[in-house]
């Protein structure tokens, strides 16, 4: 294996490299969004792509999200495979109608005649000390919309492969990226670019354990793993599952784990009301009714707008809140 096949990459660099690979492999792949060209995006995730692929494949678009997604739909009809960047998750809402009414429904509307191979990349989540609208977790809204698929990556390997798999998919995919970890050195990982990747739409046990199961996705996976490490010191063994795909949910491994542990914590930064963690709890209580020794507990953001960032350490579920839930679960 050549040395360059294995690279140590941050999550941000992994997505950048994945995008590059997809653009090399298929000249119908185009990248579009605000500032993605010359600047390489405000997070630099598209850095260098316009220089190498030109202005017709990396589009610095006018400033309007409905326009970005709406024109991507037309480009997809024409046979392109657009990858849209939404600058921050809080700015996806002007494009919501295009996502719900066109992106999600065109394949259904046309009985399969119009495919929608669109990827909408969304940096999401908190913890970057930002002003309003820059730290939200709106993924549940998209998971509720039939016709969309939703992915959230938690690490560089999945980021590298996931973005390519998403681009290859003929279905529209909301691709959520954990922005606070983009450039985290701690998350820099060896990515073997010759490996066979795991399938995109599968969840995965990322740390085995047997007393309590913790299911998480995106940036929360790291929190769950940190909690598992801490719990170990107290003699509690947490099994951590990375959902990876939020719609369609792949809960098989969760059911299996809960049948073993009898206890589940669902972890997410998003508000809890009518959310993905609600869905997980609803399905687990049904599938594992006789296995549960405690109710499914949820550790989430609160049902408030995202607070001023000076308060986000309280808002965001952290290791302590996970451990607290573990204790509650074990003490039920």
């Amino acid at each position: 294996m050549a040395n360059e096949d294995i690279q140590k990459l941050t999550i941000g660099k992994a997505i950048n490299l994945g995008l590059r690979r997809s653009m090399e492999a298929n000249n119908r792949v185009i990248v579009m969004g605000e500032d993605v060209g010359k600047l390489g995006g405000v997070f630099r995730i598209t850095d260098g792509l316009q220089k190498d692929f030109g202005e017709q494949r990396v589009l610095d678009t006018p400033l309007a999200e409905s326009g970005i997604i709406g024109t991507a739909v037309g480009l997809a009809v024409r046979g392109f495979r657009p990858v849209c960047e939404i600058q921050f998750e809080g700015f996806i809402f002007p494009g919501f109608d295009q996502i719900v009414s066109q992106v999600a429904k065109l394949h259904y509307r046309t009985q399969g005649k119009v495919k929608m191979p669109i990827v909408i990349r969304v940096p999401f989540g908190g913890g970057i000390g930002a002003v309003e609208h820059h730290s939200e977790s709106p993924e549940s809204l998209f998971a509720h919309v039939a016709g969309l698929k939703v992915v959230a990556v938690s690490n560089a390997v999945d980021a590298y492969w996931g973005i390519q798999q998403a681009i290859d998919s003929d279905d529209p995919i909301l691709f959520f990226e954990p922005k606070r970890l983009y450039h985290s050195g701690a998350m820099r990982t060896e990515v073997d670019t010759t490996a066979t990747p795991d399938p995109l739409f599968k969840s995965r046990v990322v740390r085995p354990g047997d007393s309590v199961t913790v299911v998480a996705y995106g940036p929360s996976v790291k929190v769950a793993l940190d909690a598992a490490t801490a719990a170990e010191e107290e003699g509690k063994s947490l099994e951590v599952i990375d959902l990876r795909t939020l719609s369609p949910l792949d809960l098989g491994p969760v059911f299996e784990s809960v049948r073993k542990t009898g206890r589940l914590i669902a972890l997410s930064e998003a508000p809890s009301e009518s959310s993905l963690t609600s869905e997980i709890a609803a399905r687990v209580q049904q599938e594992c009714f006789y296995s549960l020794e405690a109710p499914v507990l949820r550790v989430t953001g609160f049902d408030t707008p995202y607070p001023p960032a000076k308060l986000e350490e309280h808002y965001l579920p952290d290791l302590d809140r996970v451990l607290h839930a573990v204790d509650r679960s074990l003490g039920w």
Partner: protein, 402 residues
């Protein structure tokens, strides 16, 4: 299927009968305005009386329209009007859930539709049955949408005719993206260029998406014709509720041409759309066309226009009927005789009868269709839901309950 009457009408006896419409002075004025000729800037090649008006700019675009071709356009209009009336009647008979009439807009649709070529693409809203017809879409396929057996079914690629779009205005951005793609594919720049036409109404011009379509198309020089059928009404709201200015002037703020054409003049619609398409093919797009026309029927079969507009208005517009003026022109100039007109009427009746037959015998869609084509690739969650539901249904069948 429950009665679509419920959409808008209280059940009989549920309250006082709808009062007779009492249009306000504003409406009366609006009505009168609407019967004007669309202002000085209106491009017209055939008057309501069937007289040919010459235009040095646009005549070249219809130089090939001899009597035979004009008879063809006439026939197109008669056929789609007849089909429209048939569909309207079938809705009344409970065969369609709803119908969206095109009555009065035949010239705008046939003229612009016939201006397109094979490689061109159209993005319609929901009223463009006439355009569908010009693109070779069998109107039977359109019926499925309104009978509610499917959401659309034709082969959009083969016909160069995108699915209908019901959310007002958002197809305009999709069309813009498609036209950008034509450009990116190198299909723009000479006589062989490709272009796109997107249809929308006067009401739609208020939507943010239509504006964003203008911005994008201008910035990317997209080969896109924005074809706005100003039929004077967005359901009950006159165009004054959307704009102070004639709508074609909207283009001035973006830096591309806007033009108002007599939407009841098939020759003008054909010529102006051909011109606009030529501009686009050569890389001078986009172009906005406002086709000044009139919705002669209700908004849909669930609508009651007597609540908001004067019947006088309709009477005025009848004098500008898009079909009659062509008939007058052909008759007067010997371009067609009685036999021809009778034949067209017979063809139209047969055309409608065929539609009717088809509609009455359309099979019910199978329950599996609920689950089909949600995704291009499968979803285990949905597969499980389908299996569970189908076996639940089978349970009924087995129990003889269904």
């Amino acid at each position: 299927m429950s009665s679509p009457e419920q959409w808008t009408h209280p059940e009989p006896g549920a309250g006082p009968a709808a009062e007779a419409a009492q249009p306000s002075p504003e409406q009366v004025i609006a009505g009168l305005r609407a019967t004007s000729e669309g202002g000085e800037e209106l491009t017209q090649l055939l008057t309501p009386e069937g007289e040919r008006v010459h235009s040095s700019q646009f005549d070249p675009y219809i130089a090939d329209i001899d009597d035979e071709a004009l008879r063809g356009l006439y026939r197109d209009m008669v056929l789609v009007r007849r089909a429209d009336r048939e569909a309207n009647a079938m809705q009344r008979q409970g065969q369609l859930g709803i119908w969206v009439p095109l009555l009065g807009q035949e010239a705008a649709q046939i003229g612009s539709g016939r201006a397109m070529r094979k490689g061109d693409m159209a993005f319609p809203s929901y009223r463009e049955h006439g355009v569908a017809y010009t693109r070779g879409v069998d109107l039977k396929e359109v019926l499925g949408i309104f009978r509610c057996t499917d959401h659309s079914s034709w082969d959009y690629k083969e016909h160069g005719f995108h699915p209908y779009c019901i959310v007002i205005g958002n197809q305009v951005l999709n069309a813009t993206g498609y036209a950008m793609g034509q450009k990116f594919d190198g299909k723009v720049g000479d006589d062989n260029g490709e272009a796109t036409v997107t249809y929308f109404g006067d009401g739609a011009t208020s939507q943010g998406d239509v504006h964003e379509g203008f911005v994008w198309a201008a910035v990317y020089d997209a080969p896109l014709v924005f074809f706005c059928q100003n039929n004077q009404w967005a359901i009950s709201e006159p165009t004054e509720r959307q704009s102070r200015l004639p709508l074609y002037q909207r283009a001035r703020g973006y830096g591309f041409p806007g033009i108002r054409v007599d939407g009841n003049d098939v020759l003008a619609c054909l010529a102006v759309t051909r011109w606009a398409l030529e501009e686009c093919r050569h890389g001078n797009g986009p172009v906005l066309i406002e086709a000044f026309t009139y919705r002669m029927d209700a908004h849909t079969t669930t609508d009651d226009p007597t609540r908001y507009r004067l019947s006088d208005e309709l009477e005025e517009w009848k004098l500008k009927d898009p079909i009659e003026r062509v008939r007058a022109y052909l008759a007067r100039n010997g371009g067609a005789d009685h036999e021809f007109f009778d034949q067209v009427q017979a063809d139209a009746d047969a055309f409608a009868a065929d539609l009717r037959d088809y509609c009455f015998n359309m099979p019910e869609p199978p329950p599996e269709r609920i689950f089909s084509n949600v995704y291009a690739e499968n979803s285990p969650v949905l597969d499980a839901q389908r299996e569970e539901f189908l076996s639940y249904l089978d349970g009924f069948a087995a129990a003889g309950e269904h």
